[in-house]
Structure formats: structure tokens, C-alpha cells
């Protein structure tokens, strides 16, 4: 028996391996396609919001950066993909890539400035980015459509074969595949040395500075990566709903994605897969009757989660499992 077989090293090595329950979200996504054929359009929305929440998990759950401006990147991606399609570039996959790169660049540039600060100043700057971009999207109405939104987003079939239909069949599968690919990437990222150093920064910045980790550079890198993924999520919205509104780039959208992630459980990569569907389904059934009350209950729920259920739904599940095992 060598020492590596047990102890803390083995525990870390084991973390990287795929476990059986990691297949559950994917089984659910495939099953939902066949079980609810009438709700595939909603399903596609849930999938791109899941991707959006996943991107936030990288910076919030792993990097420990509290941001209220993540919708800025979602919006940049959405407008980039939308504008590309409106101006004649109708190939969807390259559209996604361009949107991701555009949002990544915005993330890189704003991250370089924002991440030098901490606490309330950082919060203010992330908010300022989203308000500023919203203002630009609103004022530049000749380009973006302003408050009316960007209309006339039309796309070629995916890979020249699958046409976007009104039932959301193509949209659902397309979103699911993009989500899967980027989930693999995110999973790889958080288990890499880079991901471990992020967790270190979240847990103890001083110590990471002390051992010579380039903290600022690491944070800016993950900020830009998360921005790019958020941009792809925004592009998926633009392509599948064929419309980009100002709400794609609003404070409310930032708040929503934060809530989704926290309801699910941040810092565990699967919080997004629980929180986003739960939020979207609740919103779909409750907010239709009265969006104002929806925000009231949402606020109340948020206060209760913070006071009584830190760690979100998955955190509650963890606690329940621990109690059962005892």
C-alpha cells in the first residue's frame, strides 16, 4: 500500500472522476425533451439560463467575486449574435463563437479595472458596467432597436441541416449540446490547477498572495472566461428566441441569475442545473398572473434562504443526506 492510496490526496484525485449522479442532469434533460414535447421552447430557455448561471458559478462560486453585473456579458453576447444575424451573417455556430469572444473581451477589459477593488466598490463597479451598457443599448436605438428590442433575427439551419422551428425542437437540442460542451469545459476548468488556485483565492486571499499566486491575473482570467460563457448563453437566447430586448442586459437579469445560482447552491457546478429550472418553472407558472407579486415572493424567498438555508437547495440536500447517514 502506498501513501497515495488513502488520505487527502486520494480524496482530491477522486473529486475529478465522474460519478454516477453527474449523469442525472443530462438524463433529465434528455427525458424532458420526450416527456414535454409542447414545452420545448421553455425548455430551451431553461437550458440557456442554466448555462448563464453556470458561468456565474465560475466567478462567484469558485472565484468568490460577488457581482451584480453579470447580465452585461449576457447582453453583449445576445446583441452581438443578434446584430450579426440581422446584418446577414446567419450561420449560428460561428455567431455563437463571435458572441462569446465579444463578451469575453468586454469581460477582460472591465475585469482589469473592476477586480482591483473589493467589497462595496467592486459591487458598485459591476452595477455601473451593466447600467452603462444598458444605457448604450437604449440610446443607440438606430443599431440596437432601443426599447423596442432588436427584431428580425433570422438564422440559417444549424450545420445546414436543422432548421429553427416554432416548436423549439432544434432550439432545445442545440442549447442542450452547447450546454453540454461548455459544462465539460467548466468541469475540466474547476478541477485543474487553475481552478484549485481560484478556490484558494476564495478561501484565503492573503495566503494565496503569500505563496506567490498571481491573484489579480487569475481573477481577471476567470472573469473573462465566465464573461465569454455568459456571452454564449446570451447568443443562444438571441438565436433561439430570434429577438433581443433591453431586459437581456438589465440589473434585474443580473439579480435573477444570482438568485438562480444561490437557490441551487453556488460553488458546486450543479447548483445552476437545479436553480435555473426551479426558478424558470416557478416564474413561468407564477409570474404570468402577476409579475409584481412574483418579485415580492422572490424577495421574501431570498431573505429566507439567506437566514435559514445558506447553500441553497443542494446544500439542504447535502444536510439531509448527512443526517440520514448518521
Amino acid at each position: 500500500m502506498n501513501a497515495a492510496a488513502g488520505g487527502p490526496v486520494a480524496a482530491i484525485v477522486r473529486q475529478h472522476r465522474l460519478r454516477w449522479w453527474e449523469a442525472l442532469p443530462w438524463a433529465a434533460i434528455v427525458a424532458a425533451y420526450f416527456l414535454f414535447p409542447d414545452h420545448r421552447a421553455l425548455g430551451a430557455q431553461i437550458l440557456f439560463m442554466t448555462l448563464f448561471a453556470l458561468s456565474l458559478d465560475l466567478i462567484l462560486g469558485y472565484g468568490g467575486i460577488v457581482t451584480l453585473g453579470h447580465a452585461a456579458f449576457f447582453g453583449v453576447g445576445a446583441y452581438a449574435a443578434g446584430l450579426l444575424a440581422v446584418h446577414g451573417w446567419r450561420e449560428p455556430i460561428t455567431g455563437l463563437l463571435v458572441a462569446g469572444v465579444a463578451a469575453g473581451i468586454v469581460g477582460l477589459v472591465s475585469g482589469l479595472v473592476i477586480l482591483r477593488t473589493r467589497g462595496i466598490t467592486l459591487l458598485m463597479l459591476t452595477l455601473a458596467v451593466v447600467f452603462m451598457l444598458e444605457e448604450i443599448a437604449n440610446k443607440a436605438s438606430s443599431i440596437t432597436g432601443g426599447a423596442d428590442g432588436l427584431q428580425g433575427v433570422r438564422l440559417d439551419p444549424v450545420l445546414g441541416t436543422w432548421r429553427f422551428d416554432i416548436f423549439g425542437r432544434t432550439a432545445y437540442v442545440y442549447c442542450a449540446i452547447v450546454l453540454f460542451v461548455l459544462w465539460l469545459f467548466a468541469r475540466r476548468l474547476v478541477h485543474s490547477p487553475f481552478g484549485r488556485s481560484l478556490t484558494g483565492i476564495r478561501e484565503n486571499v492573503q495566503r494565496m498572495h503569500a505563496i506567490g499566486s498571481p491573484v489579480h491575473r487569475r481573477l481577471v482570467t476567470v472573469y473573462a472566461i465566465a464573461a465569454a460563457i455568459a456571452g454564449v448563453a446570451g447568443a443562444l437566447q438571441a438565436q433561439t428566441t430570434q429577438f433581443v430586448g433591453l431586459n437581456a442586459i438589465s440589473f434585474e437579469r443580473s439579480g435573477e441569475v444570482l438568485i438562480m445560482l444561490v437557490f441551487g447552491g453556488a460553488g458546486r457546478l450543479y447548483g445552476a442545473f437545479v436553480g435555473a429550472p426551479a426558478y424558470m418553472l416557478a416564474q413561468d407558472s407564477l409570474a404570468k398572473t402577476d409579475p409584481v407579486y412574483w418579485f415580492f415572493w422572490l424577495g421574501l424567498l431570498l431573505v429566507c434562504v439567506v437566514l435559514f438555508a445558506r447553500g441553497g437547495l443542494l446544500g439542504l440536500l447535502d444536510a439531509a443526506l448527512r443526517r440520514l447517514r448518521r
Binding site: 460577488v66 459591487l123 458598485m124 452595477l127 453556488a266 407579486y293 424577495g299 431573505v303
Partner: protein, 291 residues
């Protein structure tokens, strides 16, 4: 030349009035942030509540302006003290994320409650008769109400400064902001001090919301719409600094008014760029100490 001067005077005047409102609302946030480091994004809710109470008392119940303002301040201050003891106090040791989520939850609830009670439209605010109309000063005419705002704001700035520098409460607050542990070892009950400061800050915010209802229209989204402005004042001024908040409010008030007047299309853009430049130069704010 005369037109240029007139524009400059107008920008300065309106900017000053806006700055006073910003200062009144944000100063409490700055001091409570400096004391407890609590990320209270719901501070704007207190200003909004002050505005709603003032406007409702005046418009629906015919209460005189001064009385309405006083009632608004007192109710908001008392309500915020209760809120602080019941809920906020549980989260002082919690992480920043929890504080942010909790206060956003409060903001969402406040938006819904305001929407439900007063409807989605902005509330009309009519200054009392004595403060309506124009006043002539040095050959130019100014709206009387804004002149009143500036005067009241300036008086309060002085009063706050004197209060912080020359009263026992002020000395305690300064001590606790400087070094909380040391202040506690000297027998200052920082918890109670914080409740009092929190209530005072919320009362001032309510005052700002009520007095400033003409400039920042009272509507359900108030607490979100102006959140960035309040946070800019706090961050640019430096946490817990009365002087910093004042200069930051002045800069933001006049700068914002100037940008909106001179380049209406890109006004907001310039303001944010300027804020970023200031914070790159001094990350802890103009009068903040490096952490």
C-alpha cells in the same frame, strides 16, 4: 460669453441641488458601511419610503410640508431601527454574498409593496406655496425650491459635521469606524451604537428622499434606479468618511448635471468613466484609507 456663463451658473446651481439630495441619502450608508462593513443595497428603500410618506401625506391628507417631512423621517428611522435589530443584526458576521442577497431580497419586496400600494407611476410632488416660483439673485432667476434645497442641504452638512466632531455620539462613531476592536475594549457598545447610527442614517435618507422628490421622482423602482449613484458617492468618497461623501456627492451631482446638459446622448457614459478613473487612481476612494 454671457450664454456660456449662464450655462455654467445653471449647471452649478442644479448640480448643487442634486448633490445635496445625493449627500443626504448616501451619508448614512457611508457611515454604516464604515462601521460594520455591511453591504446594504437596500439603503435606497429608506429614501424611497421617506419620499412616499412625504408625498402621500401632502397630496392625500393635506398635511403641511414641514410636518410631512418630519413624520416621514421619524417613521422611517424607527422602522429601520426595528429592521436592524430583527434582521440585519443576524448577518453582521455573514459573508458579503449573503448580505447582498438579503438586501436585494428586501429591495425586491419593497418594489412590489410600493407598486401594490401606490401603482407604477411616479408620484407628483408640488412644493408648498411659499417655496414655489422663482427668486431673483444677482440679476438671474432661480427656482425657489431648489434654492431652499441647497440651503437646507448646506445647513445639514454643517450640522452633521459639528455633530460628528463635537458630540459624544460623534466621537464614539469616529472611534468605532477607526478601530472597532479598540473602541469595544474601551467600553463602547458598538452594537447599540450601530443601531442608533443606522436609524439616523435611514432617517437622513428619508429626509433626502422627501426633500428630493422633485429631483429624483418617487416611483417603485427608485431603490434600484439610483442605487449606483448612492454607491458611487460611498465608494468614491471612501467608506465612513463624512467629508469624502460630501465631496463625492458634489462631484457626482455637478458632473452628472454637466454631462447631461452638455452631451445628453453620452452623459452617463462620461460619469462612469470618470468614476472608474478616480477609483483606479485611489481604489479606497478620495478620503478612504487603503485597506
Amino acid at each position: 460669453m454671457d450664454a456660456l456663463l449662464a450655462a455654467a451658473v445653471s449647471i452649478l446651481f442644479h448640480g448643487l441641488a442634486y448633490a445635496m439630495v445625493l449627500y443626504l441619502i448616501s451619508v448614512g450608508l457611508s457611515v454604516t458601511m464604515g462601521l460594520m462593513g455591511f453591504a446594504n443595497l437596500a439603503h435606497g428603500v429608506f429614501a424611497m419610503a421617506g419620499g412616499y410618506v412625504t408625498v402621500t401625506l401632502m397630496n392625500r391628507h393635506g398635511v403641511p410640508f414641514a410636518l410631512a417631512i418630519v413624520v416621514a423621517c421619524t417613521t422611517v428611522a424607527l422602522a429601520s431601527a426595528a429592521l436592524e435589530r430583527l434582521l440585519y443584526a443576524r448577518l453582521y458576521r455573514a459573508g458579503e454574498l449573503d448580505q447582498v442577497l438579503f438586501t436585494i431580497g428586501l429591495v425586491f419586496m419593497a418594489i412590489a409593496a410600493a407598486h401594490f400600494t401606490w401603482g407604477p407611476l411616479p408620484q407628483g410632488f408640488t412644493p408648498p406655496d411659499a417655496l414655489r416660483g422663482q427668486v431673483e439673485l444677482g440679476g438671474r432667476v432661480f427656482p425657489a425650491y431648489r434654492l431652499f434645497l441647497i440651503a437646507v442641504g448646506a445647513a445639514l452638512v454643517v450640522a452633521l459635521w459639528l455633530g460628528l466632531e463635537h458630540t459624544r455620539l460623534g466621537a464614539r462613531i469616529r472611534a468605532a469606524v477607526d478601530n472597532r476592536r479598540m473602541a469595544e475594549s474601551l467600553g463602547i457598545d458598538v452594537g447599540r451604537l450601530f443601531t442608533v447610527t443606522f436609524a439616523l442614517g435611514s432617517g437622513l435618507a428619508a429626509l433626502g428622499g422627501g426633500l428630493g422628490a422633485e429631483i429624483l421622482a418617487i416611483n417603485p423602482r427608485y431603490a434600484i434606479e439610483h442605487l449606483v449613484s448612492f454607491l458611487i458617492v460611498v465608494a468614491v468618497g471612501g467608506l465612513g468618511s463624512l467629508r469624502g461623501s460630501f465631496f463625492a456627492a458634489l462631484l457626482l451631482g455637478i458632473g452628472d448635471t454637466a454631462c447631461k446638459y452638455l452631451v445628453p446622448e453620452l452623459g452617463v457614459f462620461f460619469v462612469y468613466v470618470a468614476v472608474r478613473a478616480v477609483l483606479l487612481w485611489r481604489p479606497a476612494g478620495l478620503f478612504g484609507r487603503a485597506a
